[in-house]
């Protein structure tokens, strides 16, 4: 085994500024290529949806593309793309993002487009009806018409968590979506889309002073509104195992998801990082514990993966978050054997610790993966905004290799010892199209 190389860390400048209306701004120049990223993150996501309005945060995200103070419907898309850029938005459990990647000569245009919809989106009955139809098709293509669609992120939270905020279906039920009104959307915007409830990040081929002046010019005039106070969504660890079944009419073979409540990813960052490393020990690559045991040795599963965060990004959520293990398996009768094998492997990590070099190689790979995500200007910009919003410090990205280096074997063993059967929820996907 070659010795692990020294861990590199990203090096880029990060400049902070807060406007009078409360908008937090992060700027990060990188003049190596003539491209820029613009990202606005609002501190509202699936967890803040009102009861009876499941899926509303995502439906609202769609409405933010339907025209704004100075732009007709379709103009946002056209201005971004005819500048040579790309755009999108996405709804997460704790935030919603909107972003563009553009040639650097479109910097001011990109800032204008984001400011214009922060000022006022055009929410009309016609746009709402159109985007309701589009969102239903999105749910059909990604969930209802697709084997394993939305599994496990749409079903596991409902078993693992208890409060409406944490447990409901984040894409939304059709009935809830259909009952959404223009007034709901206006209220949602007024309450959650205040400048003081958002982070703007701009990265890439830019001059810092010029960029801050353009930010002030376009976002400065947006009226200050009070940011809503964010409630705690925390839930205590489970004390007894929970089980549920989920029918999937298109799936040809069964699947399973195991969810564990894990410590606060922000308040207990070091414990969180030990859990992140544990997931890599368990399932990253052919040398990982669960791949070797369940795929290669026992032939119990076709594939197996472990991750933290409902969308597989461990730094995407505040408390509570979950460690999830998923697997597809050919024999519907083998679920108990699969669970037992997972428990045995976790107990082995907890009781016997790691092999020589195991933690180092897993950590080296993890740092490499984190760095790779920072290569594209847009994903770097989105990450800066996310760490600023969730952790309050964009700089944490650059510090992660050092923080990971400080996690020792004992911490990973402790993490494994807390991933116990009585702390988990198990959802079995029943294959409706099975042989």
């Amino acid at each position: 085994m070659p010795r692990s190389p020294k861990l590199p860390a990203p090096t880029f400048d990060i400049i902070h500024h807060t406007l009078d209306n409360g908008l937090r701004v992060v700027v990060s120049p990188d003049r190596s290529a003539p491209v820029i990223g613009v990202a606005v993150l609002y501190d509202v996501g699936i967890r803040s949806e009102p009861e009876g309005r499941t899926g509303f945060a995502h439906l609202f995200e769609h409405l933010m593309f339907q025209g704004s103070a100075n732009l007709e419907k379709l103009e946002h898309f056209r201005y971004v793309q005819s500048s040579g850029g790309t755009f999108n938005g996405s709804t997460h459990f704790d935030y919603t993002n909107y972003f563009e990647a553009m040639p650097s000569n479109a910097l001011e245009r990109g800032l204008f487009l984001e400011a214009d919809r922060m000022l006022s989106p055009r929410i009309t009955q016609e746009n709402l009806a159109n985007q309701l139809a589009v969102v239903k098709e999105e749910i059909r293509v990604n969930v209802m018409n697709r084997p394993y669609g939305g599994f496990p992120w749409l079903v596991l939270p409902g078993v693992l968590f208890d409060t409406f905020a944490n447990s409901h279906n984040g894409y939304g039920g059709f009935e809830d979506l259909e009952s959404a009104t223009v007034d709901d959307a206006r209220d949602f915007f007024a309450r959650y889309y205040a400048p003081a409830n958002a982070v703007l990040a701009v990265g890439g081929d830019l001059d810092v002073d010029e960029t801050l002046a353009l930010v002030e010019k376009h976002f400065g005039p947006i009226r200050k509104r009070r940011a809503p106070k964010r409630p705690s969504f925390a839930e205590p660890p489970l004390t007894a195992e929970r089980r549920a079944a989920h029918e999937d009419q298109h799936a040809p073979i069964p699947a399973v998801a195991l969810g564990y409540r894990v410590p606060d990813p922000v308040g207990s960052l070091d414990e969180h990082l030990a859990n992140v490393l544990l997931t890599e020990v368990l399932t990253d690559g052919d040398a990982s514990r669960l791949q070797q045991r369940l795929v290669q040795r026992d032939h119990l599963v076709t594939d197996i993966g472990a991750y933290i965060g409902e969308f597989g990004d461990p730094f995407d959520e505040r408390d509570p978050t979950a460690l999830t293990i998923t697997a597809h398996y050919p024999d519907a009768g083998s679920l108990d054997k699969i669970l037992r094998a997972i428990d045995e492997e976790l107990a082995r990590v907890a009781d016997e610790g790691l092999a020589a070099g195991e933690l180092d190689r897993v950590r080296t790979r993890l740092v490499s993966v984190l760095l790779r995500e920072l290569d594209a200007v847009l994903s770097r910009t989105l990450n800066l905004a996310k760490f600023e919003l969730i952790y309050g410090r964009a700089e944490l990205i650059a510090e992660l290799p050092g923080r990971l280096a400080a996690v020792d074997e004992a911490a990973v063993r402790r993490a494994a010892s807390a991933i116990r059967p009585d702390r988990r929820a198990v959802v079995e996907l029943v294959a409706g199209a099975g042989r």
Binding site: M1, P2, R3, P5, P8, A33, P34, V35, N70, K73, L74, Y79, Q81, S82, S83, G84, G85, T86, P103, N105, A106, R109, L111, F112, A129, N130, A133, V134, E137, R140, V141, N145, P147, Y148, H250, P252, I253, D284, G285, D286, A287, S288, V295, Q296, H299, T302, D303, H328, P330, G357, R361, T364, R365, S368, L371, R372, L374, D375, A376, V377
Partner: protein, 439 residues
């Protein structure tokens, strides 16, 4: 327009430092220095066409089992060694090529190459691992074929290419199950050879030093590949709309396909722009109609795919079952319109900028540039093509785009397939024209 800020003067991309060499073994190596993050990306493309009916299954198992043993390394030793370099290796295969892709910390590139060399020259294909991967592949194929999009893709490919190898993107489970380790070792020995192969390295590295290092690291990988004769690609023949039943579908998967032009064709830039105007980006006619006006779909897409034997125009859209016929009608309307009436200057200007800008974005990362270069290398195109393509796009006239649209988007020349709940959709579709359920 007044309130929307104008674009400022564009800044030119920096020229990348690149070095290229054909090694004594016939392997072509392209190395690009692209700092940014301290990583390096690797793509090794080995030609892998074959007309032998058993080969797609063997190639698929070979690709899944290639990293399960090499030299003294067993499966987990090899994976652990790669991981220790901050690295990752994977193998994929299609009707044209085998691709070994990877990345690692830039400082670990020499060690990564030693491991790749061992995989290339001393693969073991252990019986137990091959058995495991065979079984897994059968399960993965079962899962793939439960997806509407995969069913539709296979039906369209069969309609377009008949019995040509390009019609069989995924192997059949029975052929996979019959594959033996001895067959894999032979296929590897016959076909995984450096002659005709291309290796692309992009990252925080010095090209000259990498090339020198490569000469020695890969010197043991030698020999010519066994020749494979593959027939040319037939011209797709229009036929009645094919309806494939997928009971219980809540959406229909509509697919249309026809031949297109390769990247090196002089009319390709015009066709590329015509495709964007039709359905190749969000602000396209097809998207604005089907999604933003009608709400029939989450999103239609049209694209041009380039394979060694020919390029293809592909249209795909998933629509709610109850609007299957109206969605096909609107699709045919947009096709007929772009094939019969000229496009506008504003449309061409918009897609021109989009094509230029997104080319720059997609090649602005180490991984994006490495993948693009590996794909281009199959056609003897490289960094020059990327650098000069904006100029070609800039020179295309509105008339040229209209002419390309007229020829390639004519609905009369496209093959059509719909996968969905046949009991519900067949009758409404038959109102629009002939329908068949015979593949």
């Amino acid at each position: 327009m007044s309130v929307v800020p104008a674009l400022t003067a564009p800044r030119k991309a920096k020229r990348l430092s690149v070095d290229e060499r054909v090694l004594g073994t016939g392997l072509r190596v392209i190395v690009v220095r692209k700092p940014g993050v301290p990583l390096v990306e690797v793509r090794l493309r080995v030609p892998f066409q074959s007309a032998r009916p058993a080969d797609p299954a063997r190639a698929a198992v070979l690709s899944d089992a290639m990293l399960t043993g090499a030299g003294q390394f067993d499966r987990s030793d090899l994976a652990a060694a790669v991981q220790g370099l901050g690295g990752d290796l994977s193998v994929g295969v299609d009707a044209d090529r085998l691709m070994i892709g990877g990345n690692a910390l830039a400082t670990s590139l020499p060690q990564l190459f030693d491991l790749i060399a061992t995989v290339l020259t001393e693969p073991t294909y252990p019986s137990a691992e091959v058995a495991t991967e065979r079984e897994r592949l059968v399960e993965k194929l079962t899962i793939a074929r439960s997806r509407a999009g995969v069913i539709a893709g296979e039906a369209l490919a069969h309609r377009m290419w008949g019995e040509h190898p390009y019609a069989h993107d995924l192997p059949q489970a029975r052929d996979v199950a019959a594959t033996t380790p001895a067959q894999l070792r032979k296929l590897h020995a016959d076909r995984v050879r450096p002659e005709g192969a291309v290796l692309v390295v992009v990252g925080d590295v010095s090209p000259a030093r990498v090339l020198d290092r490569m000469e020695s690291a890969l010197s043991g990988w030698a020999g010519a590949a066994a020749r494979a004769r593959v027939p040319g690609l037939p011209e797709p023949v229009p036929a009645p709309l094919l309806v494939v039943d997928r009971p219980g579908s809540v959406q229909s998967s509509i697919r249309l396909g026809g031949s297109a032009l390769g990247r090196d064709h002089e009319r390709y830039p015009a066709l590329q722009l015509a495709n964007l105007i039709f359905g190749g980006y969000f602000s396209s006619r097809w998207t604005e109609n089907l999604r933003e006006d009608k709400g029939y779909t989450y999103g239609p897409h049209s694209r041009i795919e380039h394979a060694v034997l020919g390029s293809t125009l592909l249209l795909d859209v998933e629509v709610a079952t109850e609007v299957t016929a109206p969605a096909l009608l609107e699709t045919r309307y947009e096709l007929g319109k772009i094939a019969s009436l000229p496009v506008t200057e504003a449309e061409v200007d918009a897609v021109r900028q989009y094509a230029i800008g997104t080319l720059a974005l997609s090649t602005a990362t180490q991984a994006g540039l490495a993948s693009t270069l590996a794909a281009l290398a199959a056609f003897d195109l490289g960094l020059d093509w990327i650098a000069e393509h904006p100029k070609r796009l800039g020179a295309v006239t509105v008339d040229e785009v209209s002419a390309a649209a007229m020829e390639f988007f004519a609905p009369a020349r496209l093959v059509e397939v719909v996968v969905g709940d046949a009991a519900t959709i067949t009758e409404p579709l038959a109102v629009l024209g002939p329908v068949t359920t015979d593949a």
